[in-house]
Structures are given as structure tokens and as C-alpha cells.
């Protein structure tokens, strides 16, 4: 038997049938949120189709939910209708939904793993590109469009062609103040936002094995920003320990069989990858994006690039347009860029370890006077409760941060949380596209530590200076 990659194992074990390289693959878990599902449910209703396997579906509203007082419901009538439509569809089709107000409600990619609904060896889909997050468990997980959401609902399968396999190896030990987010941004800076297009990426190497499950989720979450539909990490003790005891995890009598199988979920010695990228952990520094694409990134000690130095005309045009949109001058040192707002949250960085790390930086300090708003939005109700139990909410509030209810919030500003035109934000989210956090808003992607450091100093700063 030839050596297989983790991706081969996951893909091959889900093939129902294959014809001319197009496979029908079986889907184990389908996560659903309010934005990309209404048209799919509607399609089923019109065609008179049922859900193939109701127990595979879990739904949660996250994009439109308010992060402030929820006792009055959702103020925006269009947002409200979308969430109500999800509620209605879930009750019509018998789908389990964690509604607003339920402690388990949160960002879909935080909720799934937290519930144990994401397990090693699974295929996981969701009508959301950051579904790649779930690959952290040694699962094959990727985002799908609404037509595919409907297809999976009706058939439990997805029409899929096998991708090429890429291995990104990060060896060594991360320095103090350097996180999974910085690894992700450094990789994207290296290979570009299209570098992973057509590939499934496996993250490997000692620095990846050294990450917690939450760090691995942050990393796999950003695989899509490198163009890869799926990112994944091999199963090890860290994975198994994380899953154990969660509500949807295997029952006690199933546990031994489950972990015996899960332990096979790694790339075999000598398995072939179509591309390999290597990074040294020691060389990765805290990262800050300066432009309007995640590949427009540099180390915090770097400078805003000079378009005049770029020879490729398409790239040069891209840099010029980005600098103009971002209101930045070429060659400005990153740590001299002042900010207006800070957002700590999103499916990339809103889990308990992210909040702990940010709180450790903010503790005993205060949000700088030039910062109009610094907000912390936990990824789920359970993360929020845990943080409050640990007193993190108090640390944040004393430091002048706002402590909010869980949801996507200012990651994409579909609810009321957004940047005003021209405002500059240090954000722990995953996309710095034009208008992403509000029309005209300027987003700089950073780790939670770096966001907290920017909040208390009023500009980007090397968090290692505050930690020393």
C-alpha cells in the first residue's frame, strides 16, 4: 500500500462513487447559519424535498445578531427577518438550533468544536468559507455555496473533485508574543492569497504540534485566506484531549474504538505532497497587515511598502490602490500608525485562550485616549461565561474595553457594529478587504495580543515590548 497523506485518507474514506475524477463524497456534519441557508431551505421546500439526515445538521444564528443588550431583539428589520427565517426553517425541518439567548449560541465555527460536533475523521461543511477552521481536528472541512448547502441537505453528499495536497511545515519554537495568527499571516505573506488555490493544506512540523487546539483552529481558519478551501492538522493527544467529554463526542462505550481510528489520521511517512512550503518558527515575528488583502502583511517592525519598488505593474497598481484606500504613506514604520478602534473577536480569535492572551496584555493598563472604541466579542455564550468566571471581563472593562455578547460582530459588520468611513481598526479577524468592517473602514489584521497592545498604546506596537 502506498503512503497516503492525511488529505488522501480523509477524502478517500468518504467517496460514495467516482466517475471521471468527479466524486460524490459523504458529509458527516453540516453546520448552518442564517445568511447562506434561507435560499437553500426555500429550494428544498419548492422541490418538496426533505433533509437526508437531520441529526447531521446543527444551526446557529451568528452574523446578524446584536452584541449589545438582546432583550429587545434585533433592531434592524432585515437582519431580524433573516434570523427569524432560520428559526422558522429549523422548526419546519426539525433541525437543532442554538438560538439567540442560548448559552451555546455563538459563531458557527466556535460553536461546532466547542460542542464536540466537529470530530476527527469527519467531513464537515458549512455555507461559510471559514469552515476550514474545523480541519484543525484532522477533519476534511470546507466552505460551500448555497446551492451546495441545498445539495448536502437533500443528499448528504457533495460533488467534489480531489484537490492537490500541499504541506506547510513550520519547525522550531515560536518566540514570546508570537501566535498561531502570526504563523497564518506569515504563511499568507509568503505564498499569497492565491498560493493555496486548488490545494488542501496540511499544517505540520514541531511548531504546529506545539499549538493548542485553539491555535490550530486559528491557523486552519486562515487557510482560506491563502486560497485553500481546506486546511488540516494531524490528530494527536492534543486533539483527543480536547474532544473528550464534549456533548457530541463519542459516548464512553464508543470512545476506545473512536480514538483507535483517529490515531491513524496523519500523513504516512514518505507520503507525496504536490507542494511543500517551509517556515522557521523562530523567524516569525508579530504580524500586521497594511493593505486590503491578507497577503499585504509585514512584521510589526517593518514599514509600509513603497510601490515604486514593485516591478510587476498589476501588483504595483494593487499596492497604490491599497495605500490610498488605507490612507497610508509609503515607508511609514508600522509602529507609527495610530488607530481609532480595536476589535477582538471573530471565528479566528474569539476563543478563551485568545481572550486570556489579550487580557494579559490589557491588565492594569487603559485604552489610549485616541482610541474611540475597543471591543471584545467572545465567540460563544460559553466562551463568554468561562471568561467571566475567570474575571477576564473585569480586566477588560477596567482597562476601558467594551465587553459584548457573542457573534460575528465587526468581523464583517452585518449587525450594528461597524467602522465609520476612514476609521482605522486593529482587528483580530481574518479579512481586511475594502469595506469589510464598514464602508470606508480600514482594517489591520493582528493577533489578540497585538490588538490589545495597540488598544492600550493607541498605535501598533511590538507586543513583546509590553510583555518583557
Amino acid at each position: 500500500m502506498s503512503a497516503k497523506t492525511l488529505y488522501d485518507k480523509l477524502f478517500d474514506s468518504h467517496v460514495v462513487r467516482e466517475e471521471n475524477g468527479t466524486a460524490l463524497i459523504y458529509i458527516d456534519r453540516h453546520l448552518v447559519h442564517e445568511v447562506t441557508s434561507p435560499q437553500a431551505f426555500e429550494g428544498l421546500k419548492i422541490a418538496g424535498r426533505k433533509l437526508w439526515r437531520i441529526s447531521s445538521v446543527l444551526a446557529v444564528p451568528d452574523h446578524n445578531v446584536p452584541t449589545t443588550d438582546r432583550s429587545q431583539g434585533i433592531a434592524d428589520p432585515i437582519s431580524r427577518l433573516q434570523v427569524e427565517t432560520l428559526d422558522q426553517n429549523c422548526s419546519d425541518f426539525g433541525v437543532t438550533e442554538f438560538k439567540m439567548g442560548d448559552d451555546r449560541q455563538g459563531i458557527v465555527h466556535v460553536m461546532g468544536p466547542e460542542q464536540g460536533a466537529t470530530l476527527p475523521g469527519m467531513t464537515v461543511v458549512c455555507g461559510d468559507s471559514h469552515t476550514s477552521t474545523h480541519g484543525a481536528f484532522g477533519a476534511l472541512a470546507h466552505g460551500i455555496g448555497t446551492s451546495e448547502v441545498e445539495h448536502v441537505m437533500a443528499t448528504q453528499c457533495l460533488v467534489q473533485k480531489k484537490s492537490k495536497a500541499m504541506q506547510v511545515r513550520v519547525e522550531g519554537k515560536l518566540g514570546l508574543g508570537v501566535t498561531a495568527k502570526d504563523i497564518a499571516l506569515a504563511i499568507i505573506g509568503r505564498i499569497g492569497t492565491a498560493g493555496g488555490t486548488g490545494y488542501a493544506i496540511e499544517f505540520a512540523g514541531s511548531a504546529i504540534r506545539g499549538l493548542s487546539m485553539e491555535g490550530r483552529m486559528t491557523l486552519c481558519n486562515m487557510a482560506i485566506e491563502a486560497g485553500a478551501r481546506a486546511g488540516m492538522v494531524a490528530v494527536d493527544d492534543t486533539t483527543i484531549d480536547y474532544v473528550k467529554g464534549r456533548p457530541y463526542a463519542p459516548r464512553a462505550d464508543q470512545w476506545e474504538a473512536a480514538i483507535a481510528y483517529w490515531r491513524t489520521l496523519h500523513s504516512d511517512e514518505g507520503a507525496h505532497f504536490d507542494a511543500v512550503v517551509e517556515l522557521k518558527a523562530e523567524e516569525i515575528e508579530p504580524q500586521v497587515t497594511w493593505g486590503t488583502s491578507p497577503e499585504m502583511v509585514t512584521a510589526v517592525n517593518g514599514r509600509v511598502p513603497d510601490p515604486a519598488q514593485e516591478n510587476d505593474p498589476t501588483k504595483r497598481g494593487g499596492i497604490e490602490r491599497a495605500l490610498q484606500y488605507m490612507g497610508l504613506t509609503a515607508n511609514t514604520p508600522i509602529d507609527q500608525i495610530n488607530i481609532d478602534k480595536v476589535f477582538i473577536g471573530s471565528c479566528t480569535n474569539s476563543r478563551i485562550e485568545d481572550l486570556r492572551a489579550a487580557a494579559a496584555v490589557a491588565k492594569g493598563k487603559h485604552v489610549a485616549p485616541n482610541v474611540k472604541l475597543a471591543m471584545v466579542v467572545p465567540g460563544s455564550g460559553l466562551v463568554k461565561a468561562q471568561a467571566e468566571q475567570e474575571g477576564l471581563d473585569k480586566i477588560f472593562k477596567e482597562a476601558g474595553f467594551e465587553w459584548r455578547e457573542p457573534g460575528c460582530s465587526m468581523c464583517l459588520a452585518m449587525n450594528a457594529d461597524r467602522l465609520e468611513p476612514g476609521e482605522r481598526c486593529a482587528s483580530t479577524s481574518n479579512r481586511n478587504f475594502e469595506g469589510r468592517q464598514g464602508p470606508g473602514g480600514r482594517t489591520h489584521l493582528v493577533s489578540p495580543e497585538m490588538a490589545a497592545a495597540a488598544a492600550v498604546t493607541g498605535h501598533f506596537v511590538d507586543v513583546r515590548q509590553l510583555l518583557n
Binding site: V16, G145, C157, S293, G435
Partner: protein, 212 residues
């Protein structure tokens, strides 16, 4: 889904790399629970000078005269000429819905983001990959020639320019079949119900915890 066989369409150039789905259809319009009606808000932030929100009368809004889609010579375009990594970012199918509703049936670029590429086929839009040099040539020609139409033929997998130059392109056989015939994926998959059921039963026996 409407079938795609042949199209002789006016081309419009969008000379930017990494055009993301947030740019194709900004998030405030994703709140709609419908599939149709996104066309007037395609490229909203680039196309209009004011800020768009759902429910506005788009015909009354100030247009950005510099944006190609607004220029008189490109009115009625159905072929979008784009740069690399077109459609990157979120999985929102609202992006192809908006492009289709606007009137685009074919998009030509050196590369596309995976999810967007896939979503196009599900909606009767043909995304075509040509080499960067060929795309460059088309950009030059379309900008130099008013009324520049491209003949896109899916059966023969070719694009023919007004000058008669022919570019061949690749397309996956299954996707081509579906697009040529306007086939609904779900119906096709359900022809294999028994295979899916058998697979599922096996899985339940070997990994029962997946079915808890």
C-alpha cells in the same frame, strides 16, 4: 438553472487583481432571503458614489463615472474580463447571483478562487481560465475597441475575438455536461440513492459515534 451553450457578448474589463466577494456584493445585501434582485448592487461600493443599503431606489443613486460598468460603451455587457484570483474571500453565492442578475454569463480571468469558481457553475455562469498573457491581450483589445464582443462557445471550448483569434479553454467534463444541459445537481445525485444509503449504513456500522 439556465443552460449555457454559446454566447456572443459584449465584454467589459475590470482591471483589478484579487477582486473579492465583498466587493462583488457587499454584506448589507446578504440579508436578503431571496436569490434574485442582487444585480443593481453588484460592485455596489465601486459603482455608486454614495453608500448603498437594501431597499434604496438604485436608479436614483449617483454613479461613479470612472467605473467601467457605468461607461456607456459597456452597457449590456455579458462577458466580464477580470484579473487573477477573481472571487476570493467568502463563500457567498450571492456573488454569482449578483453577477448573473446583472447580466453576466461568462467571466474570463487568469485564475479564480475555488469556491466562487464552483458557485458559478451552479448558476449557469461559465468561468473561463486563460493564461495571463492572453488575458492581457484581451484587456488591451477590449479597451481599444468599442463594441468588442467575444464569442464564447462551450461545446467547442473556444473564445473567438472580433478579429477572429481563437482561444481554447479547459472545462471539467462533468461541469460542462451540467452547464450545457442546465442540469440540477440534486436530481443527478439522487439517481444514486442506493449507493449513498449503502455507504451510510457501512459508516454507521464502523463509526457509530458519527450518528449519535
Amino acid at each position: 438553472m439556465e443552460a449555457f451553450t454559446q454566447l456572443n457578448g459584449l465584454a467589459v474589463p475590470l482591471d483589478r487583481a484579487n477582486v473579492d466577494t465583498d466587493a462583488i456584493i457587499p454584506k448589507q445585501f446578504l440579508k436578503s432571503i431571496k436569490r434574485a434582485g442582487f444585480g443593481p448592487n453588484a460592485f455596489d461600493e465601486w459603482r455608486y458614489l454614495d453608500h448603498g443599503e437594501p431597499g434604496m431606489d438604485n436608479s436614483q443613486r449617483p454613479l461613479n463615472p470612472d467605473f467601467p460598468l457605468n461607461q456607456p460603451r459597456y452597457q449590456g455587457a455579458s462577458v466580464l474580463l477580470a484579473r487573477e484570483n477573481f472571487g476570493c474571500g467568502s463563500s457567498r453565492e450571492h456573488a454569482p447571483w449578483a453577477l448573473l442578475d446583472y447580466g453576466f454569463r461568462a467571466i474570463i480571468a487568469p485564475s479564480f478562487a475555488d469556491i466562487f469558481f464552483n458557485n458559478c457553475f451552479k448558476n449557469g455562469i461559465l468561468p473561463i481560465i486563460l493564461s495571463a498573457e492572453n488575458v492581457d491581450t484581451l484587456f488591451r483589445e477590449v479597451e481599444a475597441t468599442e463594441g468588442y464582443k467575444l464569442l464564447v462557445d462551450l461545446t467547442s471550448q473556444t473564445i473567438t475575438t472580433p478579429q477572429g483569434a481563437v482561444y481554447a479553454f479547459e472545462v471539467d467534463a462533468f461541469r460542462k455536461h451540467c452547464l450545457l444541459n442546465g442540469l440540477d445537481d440534486i436530481g443527478l445525485t439522487l439517481q444514486h440513492v442506493n449507493e449513498i444509503k449503502a455507504f451510510e449504513a457501512n459508516r454507521k456500522a464502523s463509526q457509530p459515534w458519527l450518528f449519535n
